[in-house]
């Protein structure tokens, strides 16, 4: 069988979706860990942020990989969604989806779209100013600017609210996504039950961590 048809098969797409999702999961873990330091120490947070902002490996290798990973994941998500819709041209007059599956599992495209919209806001908030500071304005290195920038962003109650809402949707995305990706890569055995618990814990703890950070800085100014 031709390799090209293997790569475009439904299973290959599932696996690609799972691997890109898991990659983003690992990134989230790193991201929340760094941000959590901002609650305890402005200095540690500044130090970590400066490292992430100026280390060449992070900047020129990991960041592009991350960007590609995000784009790949949501483009593939749209492709799959369109194919799946096409597989049922006539909808049921009555369909009781909640009888056999969770809301989170049936609405990955909705939770995903909210996360995508959030990413837009997030880029506008942090990434564009960063690019502007470093490359457009060519401003000098300032290892202490990160913490004030962070705190400033959470001044607005609207923004803080939007962040928190997005993290709830992220939690729903991960509630299904983490365990779904295990099944997609073919991991379903006697360890799965324990791993599922870990998946659910991750889906709650990581977004909850982001929520705590947002609320902490909002109320602590």
């Amino acid at each position: 069988m031709a390799k090209s048809s293997i790569l475009s098969s439904s299973i290959a797409k599932k696996v690609a979706m799972a691997l890109s999702g898991l990659f983003l999961v690992s990134f989230l873990l790193l991201h929340v860990s760094i941000n959590l330091t901002s609650i305890f120490s402005a200095d540690v947070f500044n130090e970590c942020s400066h490292f992430m902002g100026y280390n060449p490996l992070v900047q020129y290798v990991l960041q592009p990989i991350l960007a590609i990973g995000v784009v790949f994941h949501f483009v593939m998500g749209f492709v799959l969604e369109l194919q799946n819709r096409a597989a049922r041209p006539i909808a049921y007059a009555k369909n009781n989806g909640s009888a056999n599956s969770s809301w989170a599992s049936r609405n990955m495209i909705i939770s995903g779209l909210v996360v995508l919209a959030f990413l837009g806001l997030h880029f506008y908030d942090f990434w564009f100013p960063e690019i502007n500071y470093k490359f457009i304005q060519g401003m000098p290195i300032d290892e202490t600017r990160y913490f004030p920038e962070l705190v400033h962003k959470f001044h607005s109650p609207v923004r803080t609210g939007l962040y928190c809402l997005s993290f709830v949707l992220l939690a729903l995305h991960l509630w299904h996504g983490f365990n779904s990706s295990m099944q997609s890569v073919g991991f379903n055995n006697k360890f799965s039950r324990g791993l599922h618990k870990l998946g659910y814990a991750f889906a709650i703890v990581v977004p909850f961590g982001f929520i705590v950070i947002a609320l902490f800085h909002h109320f602590n100014q």
Partner: protein, 253 residues
């Protein structure tokens, strides 16, 4: 068990003249349905009423009426094979419904299962997937080896048997929000993949069956797990994971 009684029901049934015409949901009233009758007997009763009214009876699939052939389909009140789990439609009884209920009856909805007439769909896409690899090539010249001559671990034999219980009814596709056939194909791949006799053609089997599945226009699995809940034979999601592993291994070869 409670004593049987008679109930009056309303039905909303998909009517479609043939594969080419557009169909629609039609409403019927049916009185004096015994709660002891099966769902299909209720449809027989409705058809008698329609025939007496000189109307076209409703076409629906059925054969064994004892849960083994997989012919009876029907999406009832928003669920494949109706409200109970672990059963086919022929095993559904009217005691699951109440007097005055409105019951929706629709055909399986999938691009790969086109409606032929009313509630009858064409499931030959499943046959074509089977023909693409759901078999073992054995010499049937009379010199076959006794199957028991090959030792098989009990665990594997049991898993294979469980997968082989799939009756090809299509409920998994019908209930899946993506119209995916992965539970069916996962079961058919697994029943052979677990046995030494099936290993011989394992690589080509999984590649060919998945290719055929994709060509038929089934959707992509997103692991909602709805299929496993609605499957009348309790086929497990493990079979989909096994198929994914088989596929990944086969595509490396």
């Amino acid at each position: 068990m409670s004593v049987a009684k008679n109930i009056n029901i309303n039905l909303k049934v998909w009517r479609q003249k043939n594969a080419k015409t557009k169909g629609s949901m039609e409403t019927y009233k049916l009185d004096n349905v015994s709660t002891a009758s099966s769902f299909l007997e209720m449809l027989d009763q409705l058809n008698e009423q329609l025939v007496n009214e000189r109307k076209e009876p409703i076409a629906f699939d059925h054969d064994c009426r004892e849960g083994i052939c997989g012919m009876c389909s029907l999406y009832i009140n928003g669920r494949a094979h109706g409200p109970d789990t672990g059963i086919t439609t022929c095993q559904l009884h009217m005691r699951s419904f109440k007097d005055g209920d409105t019951i929706y009856v629709e055909p399986w909805r999938s691009k790969a299962f086109p409606v032929i007439k009313d509630l009858v769909v064409d499931r030959s896409s499943f046959d074509r997937i089977q023909q693409a690899g759901g078999f073992v090539s054995v010499n049937t010249s009379g010199r076959t080896i006794d199957a028991n001559a090959t030792p098989i671990p009990k665990h594997d034999a049991d898993r294979s048997f469980e997968a082989a219980a799939c009756i090809g009814c299509g409920a998994c596709v019908a209930t899946c929000k993506n119209g995916s056939a992965m539970l069916f194909v996962g079961a058919k791949v697994s029943q052979y993949a677990l046995l030494p006799q099936g290993r011989v053609e394992a690589t080509q089997r999984v590649l060919n069956m998945v290719r055929q599945m994709d060509e038929e226009g089934f959707g992509n699995c997103t692991n909602t797990g709805a299929c496993e809940v609605e499957c009348p034979k309790g086929i497990s999601l493990e079979n989909i994971a096994r198929m994914n592993r088989e596929y990944l291994a086969a595509s490396m070869k």
